[in-house]
Amino acid sequence: MRALAPLVAAALAAAPLAAQAAPGTIAQRTKGSATAPVTVYEMSDFQCPYCRRFALETFPALESEYVRAGKVRWVFVNLPLTQIHPNAAPAAILAVCAAQQRRFWPVHDVLFRTQATWAPLKDPAAFFRSLADSAQLDRSALDACMTKGEAEAEVRADAEGAARAGARGTPSFYIEGLFAPGAVPLEAFRQVLDSIGAAKAAARK
């Protein structure tokens, strides 16, 4: 898992330069304070039902208790499992294109909420366009993003980084040196985040 941290950290460091050439959207896929003592990397697939369950049932509580409280910075990393989820990559590309318009999180939410509708589609493009409209994305900018290939390359780079880091399935989490595969239940997440937070606070004293 160690390989992911420098990869994403480098992307985060580059994020303020987003207006310059070929920026990644990692900053737009990040929630929480940059000075939060704990960073969680979530490696996720929009077509994975366990990711959906985590995103809609577990993450809102974590966001409320840890991210908004400034205790945790949350980074979303794309890991579309294309071998079993044929629409996961187009969904991830849509999300990255939304991130370019600073609308990643609304699209993230709506993709997971509507997963059961688009997951079985042979070609989800039309449905994704309707989602983009409902998320108030600029259509022409979106079309340009979807066809240019940069978003696809970014998704691929995310997935390769996650794979190099050891992630085989989704969701998987990297929490300050700890690799946690699977949809970790809320209570287990609380214990991990509290213990890491306490250890970091003690180290600062």
């Binding site: 366990y50 079993i84 085989r168 287990a188």
Partner: protein, 218 residues
């Protein structure tokens, strides 16, 4: 705690079974089973197709190997018979048994003499083996780079069969071939060889005489 996840990787159980000297197919412990992300036979064929010189002819070695096989099998079979009779003789003072044991020992000595003769003749294959090694060194020179290219981001996954002949592999999604080789108990100049494409479905693969090939060991 096992958290639920979407995971396209596969756990594959490989059962290896081989004939012993008496041709009884039994679970084979200690066999290295390798899952390769490429078809090694096709890579070998590509390199051989591009060879600048023809592969040395092996007909002479093949006939020497065939001539060696019978005395070797005879020694193996009679040795087994002698051991069994010796075990029985230790538990019994039966005169008929002692006679049978003496006769078996005499046959073993004759078989060993025949094997020694065949082994001397087998030395005639040494020059062919050496020529083949030289040809392979030249022909397969590009092997490493070809493998690197074929494997892409995947790396081989290996396990060794346990006492029950079972190996377990955890594989990423993708196309895999199961590669293994083992000595042939019936013939030291042959080996068992498998290069089996992993089926898309199923979690158990059997490597046995029906899925492998007995081939000369030059």
């Amino acid at each position: 705690m096992l958290a639920l996840a979407c995971d396209p990787s596969r756990d594959v159980t490989v059962r290896v079974a081989l004939p012993d000297a008496a041709e009884r197919v039994l679970p084979a412990p200690g066999i290295a089973v390798v899952a390769l992300p490429y078809d090694r036979d096709s890579l070998i064929r590509r390199l051989e197709a591009a060879a600048t010189t023809p592969r040395p002819a092996t007909a002479v070695a093949d006939s020497l190997f065939a001539a060696f096989r019978t005395p070797f099998a005879s020694v193996a079979r009679v040795s087994y018979e002698v051991r069994a009779l010796e075990d029985s003789a230790r538990a019994s003072a039966d005169a008929a048994l002692a006679q049978r044991l003496a006769a078996a020992r005499a046959r073993l000595a004759a078989a060993q003499a025949a094997l020694a003769t065949a082994r001397t003749r087998l030395a005639g294959a040494d020059s062919l083996r050496a020529a083949l090694r030289r040809w392979e060194d030249i022909t397969y020179k590009g092997w490493d780079s070809l493998v690197k290219q074929a494997a892409g981001r995947y790396t081989a996954v290996t396990d060794t069969t346990d006492a029950t002949g079972v190996a377990r592999l955890h594989l990423l999604p993708g196309r895999w071939w199961l590669y293994a080789r083992s000595f042939d108990a019936a013939d030291p100049n042959r080996e068992w060889y498998w290069n089996v494409p992993l089926p898309a479905q199923g979690d158990t693969v059997v490597l046995d005489p029906s899925s492998g090939a007995r081939r000369p060991r030059y």
